[in-house]
């Protein structure tokens, strides 16, 4: 197979999620890639990669690029990373780009690095700055545990693979042009040499608030450290961990590294369960990017309800134990002898 060499093409690799929609941060990758392509005076190609059978990419998603392809990989792949590398490699062979951009993340870094070896390319991960000046590309990333910022320069000769840190670039505006999306099928990756046994639910205290998918957050209403034991138990059952408002941390019920809000951490879990938190603006500032917000509060006028998807008006000291009881009952029903692993 001959690789068509387009000496200057910037390519963004975007994973379309289970709904077919690229995540909001993939549009930031497209934004960064568009900026680079404009600066270098070249075209922007986008490769949508998805598991086979995933719904088609959102109708306008390709309008952000000059060329678009969609690559599906086989469903039966154990290690999604292996398949991602094959899919991205196929896209690279099709487009012959000088720069390939990914969204930064634990697994994306591995995919980007493996692709860089295959392409014999340089790699810059966690990039937060990308601009073209005099034909050279300036890049930047945090280093020394966030205590310093390294400015790098790429001479735009040897190809480069970049992972783009979320939150650093803005999404581009769509061109409005309709492109044909070229559909390609990734070759099967070699059988994985790693066997996946399964997923295990980690203990809540072994999980940080920024990494968890589900957060059970407690505030003043919880009433004490004992109340938080129940929240920990709930978090364990939901596969998440515990967070807290400033009040709960100040009172010493929870460690300060679990504080969410303006003086704590900014979190973006899939589900944020706010228990006994009234919802001061300082707290709400920390959960802006959360997926679904469920609030349990006794006060029907608590401000947290204004940002909640589901507002539960009730006493948490009744609701939480009842909820735990129901979850326990459901557990016992399905696994009477604890046979299920």
């Amino acid at each position: 197979m001959t690789v068509e060499q387009r000496p200057h093409t910037v390519m963004a690799v975007v994973e379309s999620g289970p709904s077919g929609d690229p995540s909001p941060s993939s549009f930031e990758v497209l934004g960064a890639a568009r900026g680079l392509a404009t600066g270098l005076g070249c075209e922007l190609a986008v490769a949508f990669v998805a598991q086979q059978g995933a719904p088609a990419v959102r109708a306008d998603a390709h309008q952000y690029a000059d060329r678009a392809c969609q690559i599906a990989w086989d469903n039966g792949v154990e290690m999604a990373g292996d398949a991602m590398v094959e899919a991205a490699w196929l896209a690279v062979q099709t487009e012959g780009p000088t720069a390939v951009l990914f969204e930064d993340g634990l697994s994306a870094r591995v995919v980007a690095a493996r692709l860089a070896v295959r392409m014999d390319a340089e790699l810059v991960v966690g990039c937060t700055l990308l601009k073209v000046r005099d034909g050279k590309v300036q890049m930047g990333r945090g280093c020394l545990s966030g205590k310093a910022f390294a400015q790098l320069e790429w001479d735009a000769v040897r190809p480069v693979v970049i992972t783009v840190a979320p939150g650093a670039f803005s999404a581009p505006s769509p061109s409005g042009r309709d492109l044909e999306i070229v559909r390609l099928e990734a070759p099967a990756s070699a059988p994985s040499r790693v066997t996946v046994i399964g997923e295990v639910a980690p203990a809540p205290d072994a999980m940080g608030v920024t990494e968890a998918d589900v957060l059970v957050a407690g505030g003043a209403g919880v009433g004490g450290a004992e109340g938080f034991h129940q929240l920990v138990e709930l978090a364990r059952r939901l596969g998440g961990t515990v967070a807290a408002s400033r009040v709960a941390v100040d009172k010493g019920w929870v460690q300060s590294n679990r504080q969410v809000g303006l003086t704590g951490k900014t979190v973006s879990p899939r589900l944020y369960l706010a228990v006994g938190i009234s919802g001061a603006p300082q707290h709400i500032a920390g959960i802006r990017s959360a997926g679904k917000v469920v609030a349990i509060n006794r006060d029907p006028r608590a401000p947290i309800f204004r940002v909640a998807d589901l507002a539960v008006v009730g006493d948490l000291h009744e609701v939480i134990p009842a909820l735990l009881e129901r979850l326990t009952a459901a557990d016992e029903r399905t696994a009477p002898g604890g046979m299920e692993s």
Binding site: A113, A201, L262
Partner: protein
């Protein structure tokens, strides 16, 4: 089992860099260098694996002569031998050459298991182990938080979303380890003195037959941290001072959420709450996480 642990010699991560940097090199007063903390976790994991399965542990580094102190830290934890590849490059951007040199030195005497820290404290990109595994064509498991078994290694790795995945991998393989895997032991004086006397094998890139390509990405400047700009929002003029303050602190207008309200007797409320969690994929219909 033959185990190789890759270590990096890094500037002390506890050092307050902010005040002193500016320019390309770190020449801060009183700055000391030490072995990358996660690589010490890797050493400890290697030594524990050796204690379990028998065999030897070799520590390997790529760097200047001073980097041998990182090797000696690894030897003090219980490693048996040490190798350094001579290289004078800035550790902040040396991922690609480092991996090429490590691959060459490890390929000459292939170990069963390669263990690396998940990332270095200076560059923090975590790419050397991936480059290395790819160049040596080894299966790689990253971000390992728990390690057991010997025949096939049984590992638990950290994934996005706080999830943990249980995996099995047969040597020859490579893994990268996270801090929570284990605590490096505190070496005894005896162990330290023995480490100081252990000879260190040194190679140059030429001896390994590695021709490092010209770099296309170079470090041009180090500066103080550049936190990402928060989105600035200006509150509507119609609000009172208190309202404007709340608006700015909360980072913008409250997102319009189609709020549903649950009220009434607790069992009923819990029923609907569970149904909601279920519908959003947090609990399975069996009350477990999917």
């Amino acid at each position: 089992m033959r185990i190789a642990v890759c270590v990096k010699w890094v500037p002390d991560p506890e050092y307050p860099f902010q005040a002193t940097i500016g320019g390309v090199h770190l020449d801060a007063p009183g700055l000391t260098y030490l072995a990358n903390p996660l690589d010490m976790v890797a050493c400890e994991a290697g030594v524990r694996l050796k204690e379990l399965a028998g065999g030897t542990v070799k520590v390997v580094t790529v760097g200047p002569e001073a980097a041998e102190s990182a090797l000696r830290s690894g030897l003090a934890l219980g490693a048996d031998s040490a190798t350094r590849v001579e290289f004078e490059g800035d550790g902040l951007v040396a991922g690609d050459p480092t991996a090429r040199l490590l691959a060459a030195v490890l390929a000459s005497d292939p170990p069963d298991v390669i263990i690396c820290g998940a990332r270095s404290s200076d560059s923090g990109s975590g790419t050397v182990p991936v480059f290395l595994a790819e160049r040596l064509d080894r299966p790689l498991v990253t971000n390992v938080v728990s390690l057991s078994g010997v025949g096939p290694l049984e590992v638990e790795r950290r994934m996005e979303g706080g999830r943990r995945q249980l995996l099995q991998v047969h040597p020859p393989a490579a893994i990268t380890v996270e801090e929570s895997l284990c605590d490096p032991r505190y070496p005894s004086v005896l162990a330290r003195r023995k480490a100081d006397r252990t000879p260190i094998e040194v190679f140059t890139p030429g001896q390994l037959g590695v021709d490092l390509p010209d770099r296309s990405v170079t470090l041009i400047r180090l500066q103080g941290p550049r936190p990402l700009a928060a989105r600035l929002v200006s509150p509507p003029a119609g609000l009172l001072a208190r309202g404007r303050l709340a608006f700015v602190m909360a980072g913008g207008p409250d997102q319009k959420r189609s709020s549903r309200r649950l009220e009434g007797p607790t069992p009923l409320v819990v029923d609907q709450l569970l149904a909601y969690l279920d519908a959003n994929g947090v609990t399975g219909s069996d009350g477990r996480r999917r």
